[in-house]
Amino acid sequence: MFQTILKYTLLILAALSFIYPFIWMVSASLSSESGLGDLTLLPVDFTWNNYVTVFTKIPLDRAFLNSAFVAVVTTSLVLVSGAMVGYALARFNFVGRNLIFYLIIFTMTLPFQITLIPNYITMVKLGWVDTYLALIVPFALNSLSILLFRQAFQSLPDALIEAARMDGAGEFRIIFQILVPNILPTVLTITILTFMGIWNEALWPLIVIRDESTMTMPQLVTLFSVGGRAEGQLGVKIAAAVMLAIPIVILYLFFQKHFIRSMASSGMKD
């Protein structure tokens, strides 16, 4: 009995320490500057001013659309390219298959620090700086998604593919109309991991985008926070951070279990 109480007390304290800071953040963003240091649940001197200031100083609405566009397009491309390559690796015997598999493993273990600067230079030479291409193309294919698709396709019965081939279906129809509907959990995992990764990425946009109208949300909020434009007003910075957190937290509330399962499966892979 005593142990159960102790256990739940600890668990509740831990849960509070992860949730409460976010609640504080929302209420602080709706408080006046003087109420900021208080430990509150509800805003002190309720005001929308911090949000008004953020939106007049930086084009956060535009950045939201940029982030959404880049994340949706990149995720779609990762799914298409991952399914194609994963299918070839799972279902064909061809010269070079093992080589490609090892290259994928090599890519996954390669620290990004080594490719960061050369990739920036590639963007400069292609003339992609300040374009969506720079934000999308380098991430349009991803090793983990190929491996997950490969694994999923391997688990499907041969009969499924043979029947489709008898009907004269092309390989692309086989992949996207016949096989993919059978592995939707894998598709969901890859969608979540990619979308979340792209949505939260700040470093690469900071490197390749200088034009404010092409910036993504994390980048714009970062620059707003370190630059002088927030004029040292904490509430304004927090309001910008809340805006950045809201879309992904809403998705999390709907797909909680899938988020946790997807992230855990990617952690296991490493």
Partner: protein, 284 residues
């Protein structure tokens, strides 16, 4: 189905790999032997970048900062994650609520977490110091004291990531057959003995995963020090990636920043290989 079908299917990979992996790896090595500001022609300088790197106080400072980060971050992360996973392991009520709560910071951008913690850790108005005052304890200069700032960032990073590792440890703990514990109870084993001789060997691979991922994470820190302290005070929170960024985009030293990236990558691979070897010995 034709003979070239698989090659058509893997062609996006080959193209992407050539442009964004193979070329940059080779070009990065070429760059380390040159000075270049992107605009003027590249200038061959032999080993000058490497010589400079060995004498560069800030390079070693960034390595040392990462070590200081990891010394706090890794044990704290493993300790807290195992504790929370143990608490959750035999919990029936509210399991999914607690799991979801611990996981919340994992899915949110590091930018959000850093801005939030910047306020929590503020010396004058931060909540943590207000709590210390309420307990009549002295305030802590979390981000102001050069010797403390990196540890504050390590605590923040633990708060952000630990939820993921709770889940991974929980999976490990749930794979331990309950008969083992029952048998141990019959033998009169203490809780610590049960943990040490039954649980620990089973979650050892997970511990290794956490150590490796945290090490890579430590060398990848960027937005955290960039937003929180801009690498200060006194460069004591300057991270590896921040220093690469600074050399490349403040000074336009492309050759030197490529050298930094190359050497940091070697350090990461070296450390991970050592960790793997150590863990394999432990398991045997």
């Amino acid at each position: 189905m034709k003979k070239w079908t698989p090659y058509l299917l893997v062609s996006p990979y080959i193209l992407h790999f050539s442009v964004f992996v193979a070329f940059p790896v080779v070009f990065s090595i070429v760059l380390t032997f040159h000075n270049w500001n992107i605009i003027a022609p590249m200038k061959y300088v032999g080993l000058a970048n490497y010589e400079h790197l060995f004498k560069d106080r800030l390079f070693w400072q960034a390595v040392w900062n990462t070590v200081r980060f990891l010394i706090v971050h890794i044990p704290l992360q493993i300790g807290v994650a195992i504790l929370l996973a143990e608490l959750l392991n035999r919990t029936i009520r509210g399991l999914s609520f607690f799991r979801a709560a611990f996981f919340l910071p994992v899915i949110v951008s590091g930018v959000v977490v850093t801005i939030l913690w910047q306020q929590l850790l503020s010396f004058n108005s931060g909540i943590l110091n207000r709590m210390l005052i309420a307990l009549s304890l002295p305030r802590i200069p979390w981000l102001i004291d050069p010797d403390v700032a990196m540890y504050s960032i390590a605590v923040m990073a633990t708060w952000k990531n630990v939820g993921l590792y709770v889940i991974l440890f929980l999976v490990g703990l749930q794979s331990v057959p309950t008969q083992y514990y029952e048998a141990a109870d019959l033998e009169g084993a203490t809780d610590w003995q049960k943990f040490r001789y039954i649980t620990l060997p089973i979650i050892n691979p997970t511990i290794f995963t956490v150590v490796v991922l945290s090490t890579i994470g430590g060398f990848s820190l960027f937005v955290e020090p960039y937003i929180m302290t801009e690498g200060g005070p006194m460069n004591k929170t300057l991270s590896a990636v921040m220093y690469i960024y600074r050399q490349a985009f403040q000074y336009y030293h492309m050759g030197y920043s490529a050298t930094l990236g190359f050497c940091f990558a070697l350090i990461i691979l070296f450390v991970v290989v050592i960790q793997r070897r150590y863990v394999e010995q432990e398991i045997e």
